[in-house]
Amino acid sequence: MADLDDLKPGDEVPSEPPVWRSLGVVARWETLLLVLLGGTIAYGAAVSPYFLQSSNLFYICLNVGEIAIMALPLTLIVVTGEIDLSVASMLGLAGVLMAELFKHGWPIWPAMIAAVVLGAILGAVNGFLVTRIGLPSLAVTIGTLTLYRGIAQGILPTDTIGGFPANLANIGVVPIPGTHLPYSIAFFAVLAIVFAVVLHATPLGRAIFAIGAGQEAAFFAGIRVKRIKFWLFVLSGMLSGFAGVLWSLRFASARYDSGVGMELFVVTIVLLGGISIFGGRGTIAGVVVAVAVLGCLQTALTADLIPAQDQNIVVGGLLLASVIVPNARDLYRRARTRLRSAEARRHAAAAAQAEGQ
């Protein structure tokens, strides 16, 4: 795996020979991402003359705000080698709880806080099952993906709840005064800085990388593996709950199926951002660029009049590409080794035959 260093950033131990390292700067995953971002923007500009106008920035950001917020804690979870597929369901359930409480006469602020707290509790359930009972996070979060969405559907099967106070509901649809940025992306920016500092400049961040690189080694190095993972799942739930609040305000209503299938986008951003699915590698910067790529891509596709259903093909393809491409060189080397060893065997067999005669 050492030969992937130049493609998968975040590794602190340079194990490449110097030639590769200097090349590595060019071939870094983030560089590829920036090229991809440039390509996407060019595509958007070619499709619509309005794409490059500053007001369009608002819509690009608005589309990915909640997804981007949920991608941050998921990044840390994937770095530790786990996964959380239930984010979109937590978003939906938190939104439903907020709306239900509001409908039953709660003031909006306590209802919003309750939604975030509920998110944290849902995340804690995931974390408990993964760390204390020792279940694989994949299975747990597929289960809770179904369970949380199911509870949301049970509580609010067919109706939509809306009517939130106008000044708050506006948060979802107007930019921050004097800028072209929606509130959700401002939250994301602040959170991204916090996450970047924590992940890349604190002992906790190093511990998270250490867990992903080798869980057992990290444990013997005195890192509280289970505790850290547990709180990461709680964090993921909490921010998903927060994203649920923002989502409900943006659409001025809550439904049980808010954000169905959004885990595809969140996971795509994280993996496209260069976080290794096997854990231990990645940067927040990569995730931020991936957010930009996905935001621009979505808006550009929409401007190109491609329906949402078809956009899933593109996003799914992007997800596959972002896990296949880093493996491509590995793949090439394996194929070459196999060919060579086959050739060597043939030579050996021919030589043996010649000797026999």
């Binding site: 009972i133 299975a139 179904t146 199911g150 049970g154 885990e263 595809l264 799914g316 596959l320 493996n327």
Partner: protein, 346 residues
């Protein structure tokens, strides 16, 4: 049953909680049947119509499709992988069959099922190739193909729908026909489960699946072609999902772009509830099929006891989580017993 008696004799000196745990672990199918009896019994007491012929027929037919999909999913999960794309494969195959009938009403049944099988297997080939050649975790691959295949289905179908009136009577009959009171779908599922159970016990290739799931590295050292076997597992799963798509269409009678959305979660729940270890390496097709039947029965029972059917997804999720947690706890209790016994025998 002699084996059961023997187990009990050997296990007798051990702590009784271990004993119970081991029985639960080893005879998972028995546990599910017991749960089925309890659910059916309790619901029937509440409403005696629950066991009426039509109700049971509907139950069997509904469970049959999930049970079919569960066969393929079991094969994949046993190899320590997962296939999230089966719902989408079912959807696109069902739509393809619908379109085939709409455009060529007199096409023979065999061709229809070959088409469904082919589409499903093609999707399985894509999944399998990416998983085995590019060595990407199956979770990510099939999450991607889940949306890609659904997207292709959506782009192809658009807002169109194929109705039962466009389908020939012989095809619709598969969905609702009965033999001696047993629906065709139930018979198809039972036969398929019987064949798969036999195959998974007997054939060497099938045993390879278990070996790979227990320990991929050891399987490789033992000379098992891990890549080709995992690839085969995905092709089988895709092919079965494709055929299930044709059957789905005959049961529901109409198909649009969202056919089979979310089936993957029901199926994975059924498989895990049925005792197939999510870590791979153990579990039976029969257990998975019984899991499907149990899930479907609980869903129908909910409606009968006046709980809104909107809660069915929550039930599936709760059962899934409970089943993996239960398995884990049992495994923690059973592992020491098995170890001590092996030492005693050795």
């Amino acid at each position: 049953m002699t084996t059961l008696a023997e187990e009990q004799k050997v296990a007798q000196p051990r702590a009784s909680s271990h004993h119970v745990a081991e029985l639960l672990f080893r005879f998972r199918e028995l546990g599910i049947v017991l749960a089925l009896v309890i659910v059916v019994g309790a619901t029937t007491i509440d409403n005696h119509l629950f066991l009426s012929a039509t109700s049971v027929q509907q139950l069997l037919s509904g469970a049959a499709i999930v049970a079919l999909l569960a066969i393929g999913e079991t094969i994949v999960v046993v190899t320590r992988n997962v296939d999230l794309s089966i719902g989408s494969v079912l959807g696109i195959s069902a739509y393809a069959v619908g379109v085939l009938y709409r455009d060529h009403p007199h096409v023979p049944l065999l061709v229809v099922f070959l088409l469904a099988l082919g589409i499903g297997a093609a999707c399985g080939v894509v999944n399998g190739l990416i998983v085995t050649v590019a060595r990407v975790p199956s979770l990510v691959v099939t999450l991607g193909t889940l949306y890609i295949i659904r997207g292709i289905d959506g782009a192809w179908a658009g807002g169109n729908q194929v109705n039962a009136s466009m389908l020939p009577e012989s095809f619709n009959k598969i969905g609702y026909g009965t033999v001696a009171g047993i629906p065709y779908l139930g018979i198809i599922a039972i036969v398929a489960v019987a064949i798969a159970t036999y195959a998974m016990r007997t054939f060497r290739t099938a045993r390879d699946f278990y070996a790979i799931g227990s320990d991929p590295a050891a399987a490789r050292l033992a000379g098992i072609p891990v890549g080709p076997r995992v690839f085969l597992a995905f092709v089988l799963s895709g092919g079965i999902a494709g055929v299930a798509g044709a059957i789905w269409l005959s049961y529901f009678g109409s198909v649009d772009a969202i056919a089979g959305v979310g089936y993957e979660f029901q199926v994975i729940a059924a498989v895990v509830v049925g005792g197939v270890a999510i870590f791979g390496g153990s579990g039976t097709v029969l257990g998975a099929a019984l899991g499907a039947l149990l899930l479907n029965t609980i869903n129908s029972a909910l409606v009968v006891v006046n709980v809104s059917s909107f809660w069915s997804q929550a039930v599936a999720g709760a059962l899934l989580v409970a089943a993996i947690a239960f398995d884990r706890l049992i495994a923690l209790r059973v592992a020491p017993v098995l170890r001590t016994r092996r030492r005693a025998r050795g």
